[in-house]
Symmetry: C2
Amino acid sequence: YYSTTACPHVAQSSPEKDLRATAADLVVQLSTSLKTKPDVVDFGTVFTDHMLTVEWNANDGWQTPLIRPFGDLSLHPACSALHYAVELFEGLKVYRGDDKRLRLFRPLLNMERMSKSAERACLPAFDQSELLGCIKRLIEIDQDWVPHLGPACLYIRPTFIGTEPSLGVKKPNRALLYVIMCQAGSYFNTELSLWADPKYTRAWKGGTGDCKMGGNYGGTLFAQLEAGSYGCQQVLWLYGEDHQITEGGTMNIFLHWINEDGDEELATPPLDGTILPGVTRQSILDLARKWDEFKVLERYLTMGQLCSALKQQRLKEMFGSGTACRVCHIGSIVYEEKNLQLPNQDKHSLSSRIATELTDIQVSR
Amino acid sequence: YYSTTACPHVAQSSPEKDLRATAADLVVQLSTSLKTKPDVVDFGTVFTDHMLTVEWNANDGWQTPLIRPFGDLSLHPACSALHYAVELFEGLKVYRGDDKRLRLFRPLLNMERMSKSAERACLPAFDQSELLGCIKRLIEIDQDWVPHLGPACLYIRPTFIGTEPSLGVKKPNRALLYVIMCQAGSYFNTELSLWADPKYTRAWKGGTGDCKMGGNYGGTLFAQLEAGSYGCQQVLWLYGEDHQITEGGTMNIFLHWINEDGDEELATPPLDGTILPGVTRQSILDLARKWDEFKVLERYLTMGQLCSALKQQRLKEMFGSGTACRVCHIGSIVYEEKNLQLPNQDKHSLSSRIATELTDIQVSR
């Protein structure tokens, strides 16, 4: 499965400048003391033994990629990521199949989205397949960390930060791309409760909501705490005067319902610049379109439409999707001082069917 | 001028938890090799010999503040500032007066704004006057870095980052507050040219535009580069269908004009959640109100109103304000395929008068 290239390296040039190509190959420094692997942990708290780092600077371009023992980064205190959030990340998972082979789930989609985020963040371009080659090598080295049982998996977090050591607000001349991996654990265990209030907005037209940039997340914690004070786990992010449904927490949102015209439909908000183009979102759309059993639409959905559908018993299910949570049934929404109870999940729910199909793809095809 | 408290320390408790108060005082580790001070440098590129760091964690609260030789930070690669932009900063300046004494310009306003940013970012509360005490001690130690000549000064950058070593998107349990100082150099030398296009939005209702959080900045670099491709230095950020004028680059914006009713007026957009409450902005409003020579208003201003005023020769001057740039005359705006030439600056321009008054306050009162 893995690239047979002995030493893949992240390629060479920023599109806007003729940079020295790094001929050097991936360098591997193995850790001399491997960690014990704990059994069950929270998402994103226990990391593997190694990490990948690749430095870039505007004069010399990409440097030799390095796999080294997992450890702290040494960063200049004026580093542009720490002041101006010149930073982005990706999230993908590697599964151990029934046949014991390791499989990444559609990793090129993550590389492509990471490239788009990098462009938007004014970080340099990188060769997507070379980076993926480096990531595969890292997984290979830490492969014992990929769980052997069930649908468990290892979560991979490519991260890309500006490291310009200056306080001017400008395109950085230095950057660091690094990849860490952690136990995925369980993200949400039960069905989700969401809190919907138009007073907070996650993303907006002309902003960065369609890129996986750090700045999209830090501003959301405050609303998440307020959701907690209403007994809800996450925020359902609304947009505009008509309270459009956009995302839930860090998930894309799907409605499975009988639409206004009486047709069965699976719907999710369109990629209009405020929605993160989720890999799981796309996979669900692809799957459902392949089934061809009901309408599958990218369309605007408002809280008004949801409430009508609920009242008229046209809502079949609402669920979220994301790499971390996969597919997550939504049980209730607190909105305009009402606690909306949504249809329950059972084995016939679309989210159950989709979860099963995705697992099949992830571990056995 | 400086607090006579021997060892100020950042105080003790997060409001939501009874934390152990750190009785320990500020610890100072002096650098054994001081740097040479270069003559003229770009803003924010040359840092002083020391820095202040104060760690916080949810269990033990604030730790002993430390002044130590300026150097790299060691950060966990999953640190929440690097992934989710749980980070904020402040900017203030220290001036050496004609009487050789050092003066900070309205530092409590910065401490207050920093507290508000921290609340919005879900970072812990801190004691504003204790932090200011630590900053004064840092300045004292590096006081030779404050220029002796003219209006030059030292720029102080308090920074506050989440350091939770986990990938869950949540309120961090660890944080680091640090302060670095750098030569201010010259920020903008000449009058500014701005590029105004509604396709990018800096901030929006329900977001974080009124806080100095990192995420407000990283997303703006892309538009800044596009401004450059139109021959402009900065972006004039517009908002909404009616193209409201909000900020320019990282500055607040002022219009000095004869308003629609024929009255002389100094106007700047109101603090409606999308505008950073600038310390210089507030100082200019205070000054102009004290003069009581013309109307001074916080009001919405649209590009349409600006264009009408320009056509009818009612515009006297447009300028920006900020700690880094102080007061900066705006010479032209590229908007809807026109290059709007604004009235020139001369010694009678309001921006010249304000700059002189501010300098007087900063170096001699």
